[in-house]
């Protein structure tokens, strides 16, 4: 087999894996948009905040230590314990549920009936607030995230492809784990929305707020629920991305990777987020491989948006998005 074809196959596989990671971030956006029509600008910062909280709890870091020390003249930084990864993940998820409750109580509740753009602006404010709050709470140092996820080249795939094709493919173990986790997560979300009472209520709200309210569904409960789920998805995305680079403030910028995925897959479809992620992942990696070297490289960031725009021209609602027709 020609060498370039083998390389292209390797790039495609890695593109699919990268796409799964993009889809993980996009999922959080979709959940909130689907249930409330809000484009949650803070989703990337939620991933950062969730990962910071996880590492902080895991390492026994005292929250607001810098502030406490500055006010009281103390020197406290860490509790005398460390928390096992699984318990830390559960506690971090609980913090995200509390966060969802507070967002609903102190922001969303007061903005019911306001135009979508106001709610969008509120999430911009929320994003910057959370970034600063996270900094004060946990500090701005880069934190190593270690929850036992495997990293590095998968040797079995490397050996198998080498024996079969004469060229060993590189696949990162972390990407394989991310793919499995994303598959489990999406399955759970689908089961939840199809087969549970709360899930059906969530879908009802997504379809028609007024009709859902008229049959006694609590909009406030649904919003807390959906922001909690989005918080959990943000935690998962934060873990996967944080394992690659350490937990740091640039983690919030992963939201930029989700936007073209949403444009392509549609803002209201969970399968759309997955398929969109895969198309963007493969598209940008193949473009960088084939065309990048001819035009100076570093094409991924902008090419993802070009790809999404091309899809938008032909299908403005995205591949799986709902076509909204407003009659006047």
């Amino acid at each position: 087999m020609p060498e370039q074809l083998l390389f292209a196959m390797e790039v495609t596989l890695n593109g699919l894996m990268a796409g799964v990671l993009y889809a993980l971030v996009a999922l959080g956006f979709v959940l909130i948009f689907k249930a409330s029509g809000i484009f949650n600008y803070a989703q990337g910062v939620m991933a950062l905040f969730a990962a910071l909280t996880l590492v902080g709890i895991q390492q026994g870091q005292v929250p607001f230590a810098h502030l406490i020390n500055a006010i009281f003249g103390t020197e406290v930084h860490h509790f005398p314990w460390q928390v096992p990864s699984l318990i830390a993940i559960v506690l971090a998820a609980a913090v995200m549920v509390l966060f969802a409750y507070l967002v609903e109580k102190y922001i969303l509740q007061h903005l019911i009936g306001q135009p979508d753009i106001i709610l969008f602006m509120a999430t911009i404010g929320l994003a910057y607030f959370m970034e600063g709050f996270g900094d004060i709470m946990w500090g701005s140092d880069i934190k190593k995230l270690d929850v036992g996820l495997p990293q590095g080249m998968n040797m079995a795939i490397d050996e198998a492809t080498y024996n079969w094709l004469g060229y060993g493919f590189f696949i990162d173990n972390l990407d394989i784990v991310a793919t499995i986790v994303a598959a489990v997560l999406v399955t759970c979300l689908v089961i939840f929305s199809q087969y549970t009472k709360q899930g059906r209520a969530l879908r009802a709200v997504a379809d028609d707020h007024s009709a859902a309210l008229s049959v006694g569904i609590s909009l406030r409960f649904i919003w807390v629920l959906v922001w909690s789920i989005a918080g959990f998805v943000a935690l998962v995305a934060g873990i996967m991305w944080g394992a690659k680079s350490g937990v740091q403030f640039s983690l919030s910028l992963i939201a930029l990777k989700a936007l073209p995925v949403l444009m392509l897959g549609g803002f209201t479809s969970i399968p759309g987020a997955i398929i969109g992620g895969l198309i963007i992942g493969v598209g940008e990696q193949l473009f960088e491989f084939a065309i990048g070297p001819m035009i100076g490289g570093a094409t991924q960031n902008w090419f993802a948006y070009v790809l999404a725009l091309i899809f938008l021209i032909f299908r403005p609602q995205g591949l799986f998005g709902e076509k909204i027709i407003e009659r006047v």
């Binding site: 990293q151 590095g152 590189f170 680079s245 350490g246 403030f249 910028l253 491989f289």
Partner: protein
Amino acid sequence: MKYTKLAAASVTALMVATPVLADLVFPSLSYRTGPYAAGGGPYADGFADYFTLVNERDGGIGGVMASVPECETAYNTEKGVECYEATKGLGALAYNPLSTGITYQLIPKVTADDIPLYTPGYGRTSAANGKVFSHVFNFPANYWHGASLAVNHLKDVSGGDLADKKIVLLYHNSAYGKEPIRTLEDLSEKHGFEFLTVPVDHPGQEQKAQWLQIRRERPDFVIMYGWGVMNQVAVQEAANIRFPMENMIGIWWSGGDHDVTPAGDAANGYKAVSFHGVGSDYPVFDDIQKYVVDAGKAAGNGDHIGKAIYNRGVYAAMLLAESARTAQEIHDTADITSSMMRDGMEALEITEERMAELGMPGFGPAFKVSCENHGGPGTGAIQQWDAAAGTWSLITDYGPSDMEIIQPLIEEDSAAYAAENKIEERCN
């Protein structure tokens, strides 16, 4: 009790009656927020802590206290320029913006305002030519020195011959990251190695395509010019593809402790070029602990002492403090202006004896700045990461860079700037 009150009143009266010299103001255009905060914070801490040490231990510089007003730039060029405009009225003596983008914007402004700009190890490299850039100083080393020092080291570890070797430059796709390309191209011609460039877009969180390309190209060495998250991801991706870590060498901005710790043991053996000492085994850090941290006057919580980027902040502050001292001597006044500060920077001489007096023996090279040369000696050493110990160690002595390649590039670039801006050469 009465006597105590009387004494306090007398002291207060004396303080009011005595003319008070204005502080020596060194604004810190810092970034403690945003995607580059992990590097910006320790640098700003080191910069501020050294001036606090000088105030607390020595009573200031020449008897005048130094002040370091901070302005947050978030590593954003527009905000950096705003910070400059907002703080220059405080009587700023010199600026150290820690951003190549901000530096490029400030060069014409500081020249017009007669305020020196100090950009150690970053900024516009050709500003080393003092004949063109009267108000910009980038001693003791710049990006091009760094590229040459990296190549010198790779040549040493290759048995003195780089012919038939392949070197990849993995760089931040910005003005900063592109700085060494021309130098490395010229060095490639001189030494006969194959040279490839691989850019990474801001912020660098996703580098899968780049590292697959590096894996396919099978280079002997990778030189990295990264900043922020790009560094941590690159080190991790290098480990993932099993690239030998000792064959990967970063510029000093890719040589922070936080750049390697997220990868854990996998980062062991990674190297970086440095133009100053590493670790905390210098008397100055004992003094900072005693007079600044323990006294509760540290800019941060004191846990960055001895880390590479913190040390760089301390070193930059020390060189500015020594420049101010030199300016005071030249102009025979403690209350110097920014114009006098510029003179002090241009006449700065750092000797080994002075470094020892300052509690920093061997921390950086001995050198002398001149009207023609604002860039210093361009010497540097190689540091290597020991993941088990969690420390950097210098594994080479300070060595020279290849001025035969670099000087013509400096002359060419600065001449182009002079022609574009109609600047007449000075120092004649």
